[in-house]
Amino acid sequence: MSKHYLSQDTKKCIGCHTCEIQCKLNKNLPVGPKLCQVIQVGPKLVGEIPKISFIFMSCFHCENPWCVSACPTGAMQKRAKDGIVFIDKDLCVGCKTCVSACPWGAPQWNPNIGKVEKCDYCMDRIDQGLEPACVSTCTTNCLSFGTVEDATLIRRERHAASVSSFDENS
């Protein structure tokens, strides 16, 4: 069962792309594949403010992953102990079926080796008690890594604070 959850506080994200760079360094990736990516939407004028949405996209590590079902060689797998969806590159034949199967574009193509790369929450790091590379040095700490339960509670608490503000200006 999927244990981990990576959440983004979009209010704090400034679209700086540090997450992508740390990810690529940690996985030693060539130009091209981005296992996580911040997609900018906007700016769009909302009232007087030119709002920008920066949306962090990597892999959702689904309970029933399309990519794992689609993979003909068994390269794409789900780690039993914590539900991390990862790829064993020794088994990947570069057929790209997972790329077609994933609705969110998570599996990425590595042109140098002709195989797929995918976010694995930096298994190497989390097994050492570290955070995923993208989370670890996020400029504004807008990315956090924990459990789904933690993340939903944080969202509820923030929303509660916003609707019951004691700020004199509100």
């Binding site: 679209g15 760079i21 690529k24 360094l25 906007g42 700016p43 040095t137 400029t139 504004t140």
Partner: protein
């Protein structure tokens, strides 16, 4: 080899964030923010993360190089360090003998690690040290000095405790200083308001409570109307104003005609919105920060924009206030002996500066002078000849306007040396390239940070250089040895640091645990009751004696900027989080993220020209043209076009940057002559271009 980690200082931009560098088998494996600095929150910005790609990149000068062809032709011979030092020292000695030491000049990009190369200049006997600041924050510095007698760094920006932050000449969320970003974010989480005044919607504006899209060049009008409104509604901080500001009456009279309605016609910002904003601002007083700016070398009246910013901060009582602009402490303020200075080894040269600062222009601060006037003197030989020039970690050909003009200014130089870790237009045009090790491969001298919590900090070498490059102190030692300055010759970094720490009671090992040594336990907010500004009256002086005596108005009447003619746009530029001006554009990881800039152009103007979003267009000025993709958007003022600065590289040795994007500095013809006589800085945004569809 074992894994290890070292505390160091980032060198990807001029912020110099404290970092922790992890090393595995002699290779840098990971860089994170120094965990001992709370506001870093363990973070680095994208450039900081990409530092690993900088040292792994072979597209940088790898050995000393001596030019064999014409300047700029790119024909080099590799040289050993011994040979390169001999070559440079021989030329410097001959120039010194024939023209005097004053004929030797150096420019750098400022910062905390300058003491040793400035000492080298003093040792030689030349007064001609300059930094890049006349292309950056000189107006801010001179504005601060003109009002308070203190420089811009005498105050901290206490963002974390602020209640209202105004950004006008500063884009905190894109020109990233990690600690500032996090302190601002924390404050906003606690209800701090953010107001952004800009000609276009930047990332900071996207998070703001108020965004004012101002007509380019009318910031001074906006600020004068803000001061008018503050007086009109009696919203100033009365205690502070009465006690600490001299010339309030003159100021109030001066701003009388500058009503919000008058400003609306100039700026395009409705008077109603300005009034609402001023009311909000005053509500947050004194925990207000109207940031006086970083890159303020914009318009011919930017100096006065900076002055009005400081004046508004004063009227809000921000000076000395928590959440405002509290005063920083120096080591001496907290009873700590300062670092021993290399510069103090030698007397200050008595010769007058070649740029005229201090004698021809008495209202300017001497320190870093005015770089553009140094180059002017190279061209005119007035007041005397400059024959040797060292560009120290500085690329004036991209950083100042009109590179062709600058190259002509440099024609009479007998020696042009670049000390640099990356290729640059200036390095390519030099006679000798002395390759500096990138920051992860070099250590630096110990530096002082004057702050609420003052400290000494040091940059440690994380890994050994990949190529035949050297650290600053090694380069200065090599030259000093040959120039008869044995005091500046050091064998090891420990020797350098021990020199600096002599008498401080602090040891080199004290830096190992955190990379820094704090001189106090807690931030010190200085006792304000006994505070005196460094002016003759001890107060903030609205009428500056220094300015007035030099024929410069303290309160300059507003002049409306020229509007672009039909089909013309004002050329404007700025920063983004991914790049530090020109020197990161060829970084493999950062180039992948952003390899070229785009031209922001207003939707209605683009429609008039038949330009659609994403189309490649021609930008022209006086017969010179470059092409660039158009970013058609409602969110830029129609009078201006905008690009991120630093692109348009033309050196084939930078394969990833070569030929990508447009160089705004190429559209500033004659720009070395357009500078602010009051504030000293070059006015970069006083240039106009035309934009057109490409013709086949």
């Amino acid at each position: 080899m074992a894994k290890s980690s070292v505390y160091s200082v980032c060198g990807m931009c001029s912020v110099r964030c404290p970092i922790k560098v992890h090393v595995n088998n002699g290779q840098v494996s990971f860089i994170e923010g120094n965990p001992h600095v709370p506001a870093m929150k363990g973070a680095v910005c994208p450039r900081g993360a990409a530092g690993i790609a900088l040292i792994n990149d072979h597209e940088r000068p790898q050995t000393p190089l001596i030019r064999v062809g014409e300047r700029g032709e790119g024909k080099w011979r590799k040289a050993s360090w011994e040979e390169a030092f001999d070559y440079v020292a021989d030329k410097l000695s001959k120039i010194k003998e024939e023209y005097g030491a004053r004929a030797i000049a150096l420019t750098d990009r400022g910062g905390p690690f300058r003491d040793i190369h400035r000492a080298f200049l003093r040792g030689l006997g030349t007064p001609n040290y300059h930094n890049h600041d006349s292309s950056c924050a000189r107006n801010v510095q001179h504005a601060a000095l003109s009002l308070t007698g203190m420089g811009r760094k005498a105050v901290a920006y206490d963002l974390k405790n602020s209640r209202h932050v105004v950004l006008q000449l500063r884009n905190i969320l894109e020109a990233v200083n990690v600690q500032e970003v996090n302190n601002l974010m924390d404050a906003m989480e606690q209800g701090c308001k953010l107001t952004v005044i800009d000609i276009r919607s930047n990332v900071s504006a996207s998070k703001a409570n108020n965004f004012f899209k101002i007509r380019p060049g009318t910031d001074y009008a906006f600020n004068l109307a803000v001061i008018h409104e503050i007086f009109d509604k009696q919203l100033y901080h009365k205690e502070f104003t009465n006690r600490y500001i001299e010339g309030v009456k003159e100021l109030e009279e001066f701003v009388a005609p500058y009503t919000p309605e008058w400003a609306e016609a100039e700026t395009g910002i409705p008077a109603f919105d300005l009034r609402r904003f001023v009311k909000e601002l005053a509500k947050a007083s004194p925990s207000v920060i109207w940031h006086p700016g970083w890159m303020a070398a914009r318009y011919l009246d930017s100096f006065y924009v900076c002055r009005t910013i400081y004046i508004i901060n004063a009227l809000m009582g921000s000076y000395g206030a928590k959440g405002g602009l509290p005063f920083v402490s120096k080591p001496g303020d907290v009873g700590q002996k300062g670092l021993k200075s290399f510069m103090d080894l030698y007397p200050k040269p008595e010769e007058k500066r070649v740029d005229g600062v201090g004698w021809k222009y008495k209202h300017f601060e001497e320190g870093p002078g005015l770089g553009h006037l140094l180059f002017k003197a190279m061209e005119t030989d007035d007041p005397y000849k400059i024959k040797a020039y060292i560009a120290y970690r500085h690329d004036p050909l991209m950083g100042y306007p009109d590179a062709d003009h600058i190259k002509r200014m440099w024609e009479k130089l007998d020696l042009l040396v670049s000390v640099t870790f990356s290729w640059s237009d200036t390095a390519w045009h030099s006679d000798v390239v002395l390759p500096l090790s990138p920051y992860l491969e070099r250590e630096s001298i110990i530096a002082t940070k004057n702050a609420l919590k003052p400290q000494f900090f040091v940059r440690h070498r994380a890994v050994e250089p990949a190529y035949d490059t050297r650290a600053d102190w090694e380069i200065i030692s090599g030259l000093s040895k040959r120039m008869g300055l044995p005091e500046l010759v050091f064998e090891t970094p420990e020797d350098v640091w021990n020199f600096q720490l002599e008498g401080t009671g602090i040891k080199i090992e004290d830096f190992n645990d955190k990379g820094m040594v704090s001189l106090v336990d807690k931030p010190i907010y200085k006792d304000f009751d006994s505070f005196k500004f460094k002016t003759p009256s001890g107060k903030i002086e609205i009428i500056s004696k220094n300015l007035e005596e030099n024929g410069i108005a303290s309160l300059k009447p507003y002049e409306s900027p020229r509007k672009p003619k039909s089909g013309e746009f004002r050329m404007t530029f700025g920063r983004c989080a991914l790049h530090t001006q020109g020197h990161t554009v060829n970084n493999p990881l950062l180039a992948e993220q952003m390899s070229e800039n785009v031209l922001w152009i207003n939707t209605l103007e683009a429609q008039k020209l038949g330009i659609v979003h994403g189309e490649r267009v021609a930008v022209s000025q006086k017969g010179y043209t470059e092409t660039i993709k158009a970013n058609v958007t409602d969110l830029i003022h129609p009078d201006a076009v905008f690009v991120i600065h630093g692109f348009g590289h033309r050196l084939k040795v930078e394969s990833r940057a070569y030929g990508k994007g447009l160089a705004d500095n190429n559209f500033m013809s004659g720009g070395m002559e357009i500078w602010d006589r009051a504030g000293g800085a070059v006015a970069y945004q006083e240039h106009f271009v035309t934009v057109s569809k490409l013709t086949n």
